[in-house]
């Protein structure tokens, strides 16, 4: 859910102008890059089974550099949180709650996120387990309902704007897949560390397959020019489907599920941010950080004043964050291998355990 829950609302807007009709292939290409990132992150988790990302970095590169890496990771999570919440709030505000102040929607989001963060990662994970199947089922229903309206010919030419643009767009899509590295903050809670790679890879593959499906159907229904024009392609797709005269204007049902998924993703990212900051600051408990960080997140999510500004920030983030998410596990893994570090019974681990 971390991979697709917020990104798939508007990913097609970014991928289609770059790759054209082959945007869905770009999403799959991005998924392949994401799989690589997931595998590297999985190796890292297996090498440091009881460490959070900040502790891994400290263990590998020493405290000062490790804390710096930890801060960069917390900053990355904060940006994901800010942009993700802004995107979700905008989708709800523009399409449904037009007279509600966005700050109020944002506040409700953050109240729920705060509650989830207080309960901890186990509660978030368990609720996600329930909602994932509902969200996946809603997307399958949407796909089935969209099929009669879709024009498969709009996916031609299959290679879209050409091989180069498809690969470039693939790297944009990889930034969504790369958001999976957020789990490095709490992967130490995984029971079976050896399965970390497989678990992350499965998540990335599923998330990017959903994104490819959403993008492909968006192109089939709205065409390349149409999808580049609309604010939230997936919302437009949901608006167009129906089941005869029996079930029409059902987008609110889909939205209810998707926003629950977005909420859970943002709660997980929020949790990753505050635990990373707590690790950097050496705090025993992350909970005192929840309220200040939620205020910071709310403020950050309101930085982009307009929709255009939000999408500009999103474009920049998607363009450059992919390199960070590739570099982070590579640098950590290389450092660990070169310096021969692995999770063990040293002082860092004991501190972590403490």
């Amino acid at each position: 859910m971390i991979v697709f829950a917020t990104g798939f609302l508007a990913a097609a807007r970014i991928l289609v102008p770059a790759a054209g009709t082959a945007a869905w292939i770009s999403a799959l290409t991005g998924g392949a890059v994401g799989l690589g990132i997931a595998v590297l992150a999985g190796y890292l988790a297996a090498r440091f089974p009881d460490h959070s990302l900040v502790r891994m970095a400290e263990r590998i590169f020493g405290a000062p550099l490790g804390k710096l890496i930890g801060l960069s990771f917390a900053a990355y999570c904060t940006v994901v949180l800010g942009l993700g919440s802004r995107e979700s709030v905008l989708a709800m505000w523009i399409a449904f709650l037009q007279t509600t102040p966005p700050i109020l929607i944002s506040a409700v989001f953050y109240v729920l996120i705060i509650y989830a963060a207080y309960l901890g990662i186990e509660a978030i994970a368990r609720v996600s387990l329930i909602f994932f199947s509902l969200v996946a089922a809603s997307l399958l229903v949407l796909t089935a309902l969209a099929a009669p309206v879709a024009v498969p010919g709009r996916l031609l030419p299959i290679i879209g704007n050409g091989l180069g643009p498809v690969i470039r767009a693939g790297f944009l899509a990889a930034s969504y897949a790369g958001e999976s590295i957020v789990v490095l903050a709490f992967i130490k809670h995984l029971k079976d560390k050896r399965g970390a790679s497989r678990a992350m890879a499965t998540g990335v593959a599923t998330g990017m397959a959903i994104m490819a499906l959403a993008t492909g159907f968006g192109v089939m229904m709205l065409g390349v020019r149409g999808i580049s024009r609309v604010t939230f392609p997936v919302l437009e797709t949901a608006r167009m489907v129906g089941f005869g005269q029996f079930l029409e204007r059902a987008e609110i049902l889909f939205l209810a599920l998707w926003f629950s998924a977005a909420l859970l993703k943002l709660a997980a990212v929020f949790y990753a941010s505050i635990t990373s900051v707590a690790d950097v600051l050496g705090l025993r408990d992350y909970r005192p950080l929840i309220i200040p960080y939620a205020l910071l997140g709310t403020a950050l999510s309101l930085v982009p004043k307009t929709v255009l500004e939000t999408f500009d920030y999103l474009d920049v983030f998607v363009r450059y964050s992919v390199w960070y998410v590739i570099a982070l596990p590579v640098v950590l893994l290389l450092g660990a291998v070169v310096r021969g570090r692995r999770g063990g019974d040293d002082h860092v681990q004991s501190k972590d355990a403490h």
């Binding site: 030419p157 608006r239 029409e248």
Partner: protein
Amino acid sequence: MSRARTRTRTQPGAALVAVCLLAVVSVSGCRDAREIESVGFVLGLGIDETADGRIEVWAQVALPSAKPAEEEKRESWMTRSVGDTVWDALRQLNNRSTKVLFRAHVRALVIGERFARGGVARALDVLARDAQFRYKSWVFVTSDPVGDVLAVETKQSSSAALFLDDLMRNTARSSTAPRSRFLDLVTSIEEPGDQPLLARVSLVESEDGDGQSEGSARMAETAGDRGQGAGGSEGPEGAKGTPETEPKELRVEGSAALCGDRMVGWLDAEETAMALLVCNRLAAYSFVMPMPDNGGGTIGFDMIRSHADTLFPEGIHTGDAAGQVTDVVIRITGTVDIREVVSSEQLMSMQSLEGLQAGISQHLETGVRRLIEAAQNRLGCDIISIGECLRRRVPARVWKEEVASTWRDQFRTLRIVPDVHFEAGKRGMTMQSPRPVD
């Protein structure tokens, strides 16, 4: 001591309950709740242009009522306004209505010919931005006064918009009008190689005179309202609804051809069916033709399957030849079922059957040729989606940079050759017509 502890423990719970109760009052939305009686559900929207270039908008609004349907004669009412733009006219509608106009249930959007010829994009922008408006609404163009079209009542439905909705949902069998939805219009005006066809709705004399008296009365009333309404003095010449004495009904047949967002002409029912056939959008089609080979009499068919392929010269996939496409073959194959034979020729020999198949193919080929001629010369617009077929075959860059901008001119000079092959399928439950002995 223990009671004090208990009180302390229950305090957060009490506070939580208090907060929840407060939230129920303040954030439930009941503060400015909208009752269903105060909402005007717009079923049909009409848009036209006045002679002086202003925009005229009609809304047919459902009237929800607690009264039984028998008591409530008028289940919908119509309102109209004039503005400088579509949005300007729409907001004036809102200002004039005692109900909050809710556009999520618009079934039919009827566009006047003058507005369509001036460019429908003027209406698309405001409707595409509107989160309420439904993309699955049917879009029609009419040469009749838009207000009169929306005012027609029939025995089947008291609302013209609902009638048109039912008609479009259930009349796929005839396919003499495209099933044009707002979504199709929005996506196709952006593609020069896939120009939109919009269903034509017309007012015709009722063949069932007494059943239409209500509609007639309503039209007269609407025309009267115009003179008294706020925008009455600004009534258009093109959309003037003269009170008709003859009852009218609605007919959906034929189509309006658009080039970009501007209407360039009409297609009759047969041309429309041929256009849908060429674009593989013909759900079903029935036709009657003279018995071939001088057999005398007529024969009627139901087209049960058809498939059209647009064939380009070799090498088109690389894009090198895309700019120089001069010849295109439209190959159409399909099957028709015999539904009626009014002839002494009963088609009982293989030779007569082959002659029939050749005759059907020739009949349809003639129709396709007539359509191609209309598209290339009369309309000058690619309504048969040849450009879209080309776009799918060539690299996107070639289409965007080299072909798209000049496609309309290139289309007019193409040599388009129809190649139609149909076969006769089932002939029903009898091999020959029942007839008396001579």
